[in-house]
């Protein structure tokens, strides 16, 4: 083995997987460029683009003024001209400042007048990092309701890299929700060759027969942990990782639920009007005859994400929440 293959076979973190995807796409396609706050000299708040400016120059790694609406709008303009901007939100929470450009301009342009907007917005989201109300949000639900956007939320280094590459190559605006909690906590060996994870495909992360636990993002790991625990009690969970929220892989979700006849929906975004609510409605419409019990949701309460540790612990879904729901459902 050459040194290179040895290195390639080393484990990379979720964060490094994202960084690799950006680097490889920028090398592959000179139309790809990055915009965001502090991503250049500093390498980004989470250091995902460390060294990029030295490698690609300040016109492909653009440090922007602190103006999310302005630079998302600019990315839209550049995308329509044929470039492939990848915008970084310093934290997903600040995407609210760009809400208008995303939902009114990027999302509607192709529908209204046929202008494709091939761009990616990377949004570090989620809690469990003591971020408080403005550095822990899961804003995907706001955009889930806006036709014209694609939304992905990977849970593993493999998916993180493959989905980011697919997002960059997609001719539509793609919101890429990357989970901050996972950045340096999970690792994997990735294929040395170029690959993508197709947008719109869910992935069964653990096969099981009794209950479908449908989730995405960091909650996938919580689901897997709960599944191991419940296996000891003889409850066999199937963990379905949505990976893509829009377009939703209904076929894969239905296939799983038709097999197990029971479903739990788990997410970190708050409960009301969330992705779980939509999937529950879909299951009621399309899988009613297959259901042997109520569709259950596990999600934080309808409050902002709190700061103090006991408050946030209470707020976030836990293994015990999943166990309680699964035991209840198993009894049907």
């Amino acid at each position: 083995m050459t040194t290179e293959t040895v290195q390639r076979q080393q484990e990379v973190t979720y964060l490094e997987a994202i960084s690799q995807a950006l680097d490889e796409e920028m090398t592959r396609d000179e139309r790809v460029f990055l915009m965001g706050e502090d991503i250049g000299t500093y390498g980004g708040a989470f250091k995902i683009t460390e060294g990029f400016m030295a490698k690609y120059g300040e016109w492909r790694v653009i440090d922007t003024p602190l103006a999310e609406s302005g630079f998302v709008g600019a990315a839209i303009g550049a995308a329509m001209m044929g470039l492939r901007p990848v915008v970084e939100m310093q934290f997903a929470d600040f995407i609210s400042c760009a809400f208008d450009q995303i939902t009114e301009v990027a999302a509607k342009n192709h529908y209204r007048w046929g202008a494709a907007v091939p761009m990616v917005i990377r949004a570090p989201f989620g809690g469990g990092v003591h971020g408080g109300p403005f550095h822990s949000e899961c804003p995907e639900g706001w955009f889930f309701h806006s036709p014209g956007l694609k939304i992905v939320a990977p849970s593993t280094p493999y998916d993180a890299k493959g989905l980011l590459k697919a997002a960059i190559r997609d001719p539509n605006p793609v919101l890429y929700f990357e989970h901050k909690f996972l950045y340096r906590r999970i690792k994997a060996v990735l294929p040395s060759e170029d690959y993508i994870v197709p947008i719109g495909k869910a992935d069964v992360k653990r096969a099981g027969n009794d209950i479908s636990l449908i989730t995405y993002g960091a909650m996938v790991h919580l689901a897997l942990e709960a599944a191991e625990l419940l296996a000891q009690e003889g409850i066999d969970l199937e963990v379905v990782d949505l990976r893509t929220l829009i377009p939703l892989d209904k076929d894969r979700v239905y296939e799983s639920v038709r097999k197990t006849s029971k479903a739990i929906l788990l997410h970190e975004d708050n409960k009301t009007g969330g992705i779980g609510a939509e999937i529950a409605a879909l299951l009621a419409e399309d899988c009613f005859d297959h259901l042997d019990g109520p569709v259950l949701r596990i999600a934080p309460p309808d409050t902002p994400v709190p700061f103090s540790t006991p408050l946030e612990e209470y707020f976030r879904p836990k293994v015990s929440d999943i166990a309680t729901a699964a035991r209840k459902l198993a009894a049907y």
Binding site: R60, T64, G70, F71, V72, M80, W113, G114, P147, P171
Partner: protein
């Protein structure tokens, strides 16, 4: 307390109208020197601009008439009395430059090759309109013709135009983006974010304000605490200029200067086109809040009238010529209307088409 009593006297509208007369209402710009015009604008270009002024007026008057007959169901926002702005700046641009227009820029669409037939089809919600019935009125665009679609949300197009300019800069192309919004639109954050980004990165973009003194019913004095919007350019570190927005030659020349500066790598310019909204905000709005006297004054400065005066002065045109152009544009608009009326409406299920793109091209 007499002051309070005085304040509450009269309706809100009357009070606004009264206060309005405290702000200077007319553009105080000096008229263009004909010598400058003949030196800097080709005769053919000036005549072409005159034609587009007339075509814009004829087309929008036809749209207004259709609206009054109840044949157009959506909103109608015209550039009546402000045609010189879009006609002037769009004439100053090169073909491969890109325009991210404002909602009273019909002249720019026509200059970029949108036909009266297409525009009327758009207004009538026909499948042959540029948005195939997906959107109405001036909410249209076409990247092949260098027109970015207008978005209702005012000032949203300004950041987008900075991105167009950024693409030109990244690719090393000598192209320019041109964009603008109204006096009302300049209050939005996107206006400021775009001005700032354009200046920081010295982008090849020209930004303008079409200052027609009102935003719907809101007069400029309730929109901002400054007299000239152009003052804002200074704050962002870019040059700015006040231009008589009713003088097509002045608009053309000021735009040309700004465009050439941007093309040469000199960065953005901000242009304030002073003008007056001569109709209601939309054709449903009788605009009773605008003092009649003000409109009478501005009518004397009508851009078509001014262009004709200039053409006569230069010996480029006379009444017979003006009449001939009038007949020509009338025919074109009527032919366009026939095309639009004969065009099919979209079918209901077409609503489902086009949410996502299958490919993305370069422009």
């Amino acid at each position: 307390m007499p002051a309070v009593q005085e304040q509450s006297a009269g309706t809100l509208l009357e009070r606004y109208a009264g206060n309005l007369t405290q702000t200077p209402l007319l553009c105080e710009e000096e008229p263009m020197d004909p010598a400058d015009v003949t030196r800097d604008i080709k005769r053919a270009d000036l005549l072409q601009m005159y034609y587009y002024l007339r075509l814009t007026r004829a087309l929008e008057d036809r749209v207004t008439a259709l609206y009054r007959q109840g044949r157009i169901v959506g909103g109608v926002y015209t550039s009546h009395g402000m045609e010189a702005i879009a006609v002037g700046y769009a004439s100053a641009l090169e073909r491969n430059d890109v325009i991210a227009p404002f909602h009273r820029d019909m002249g720019a669409f026509l200059i970029r090759g949108f036909t009266p037939g297409e525009v009327l089809a758009q207004y009538l919600g026909k499948r042959t309109g540029p948005t195939k019935g997906k959107d109405g009125n001036v909410h249209m665009g076409d990247l092949k013709r260098g027109m970015i679609g207008f978005v209702s949300h005012l000032a949203d197009n300004l950041p987008v135009a900075t991105g167009v300019a950024l693409a030109f800069k990244i690719r090393g192309e000598r192209r320019v983006a041109f964009t603008g919004t109204g006096d009302g639109g300049t209050s939005r954050g996107d206006f400021h974010e775009a001005m700032n980004f354009a200046a920081v990165r010295k982008l090849p973009v020209v930004l303008f304000c079409n200052n027609n003194q009102y935003a719907y019913s809101t007069p400029q004095r309730l929109q901002m605490a400054i007299h000239d919007v152009v003052d804002r350019a200074k704050a962002y570190g870019m040059p700015g200029e006040i231009v008589d927005g009713n003088d097509v030659a002045a608009v053309y020349l000021a735009s040309k200067r700004a465009i050439e500066l941007a093309r040469a790598g000199g960065g953005p310019t901000f242009l304030e086109f002073k003008t007056m909204r001569m109709h209601g905000h939309s054709e449903h709005d009788p605009a009773k809040y605008v003092p009649r006297k003000l409109l009478e004054e501005w009518k004397k400065k009508d851009p078509i009238l001014k262009a004709e005066q200039l053409l006569v002065q230069l010996g480029y045109g006379d009444d017979a010529y003006f009449h001939e152009v009038g007949e020509r544009v009338k025919k074109e608009v009527e032919a366009g209307l026939e095309f639009a009326e004969q065009s099919p409406l979209p079918e209901g299920p077409e609503v489902l088409e086009g949410v996502f793109a299958e490919k993305a091209d370069s422009y």
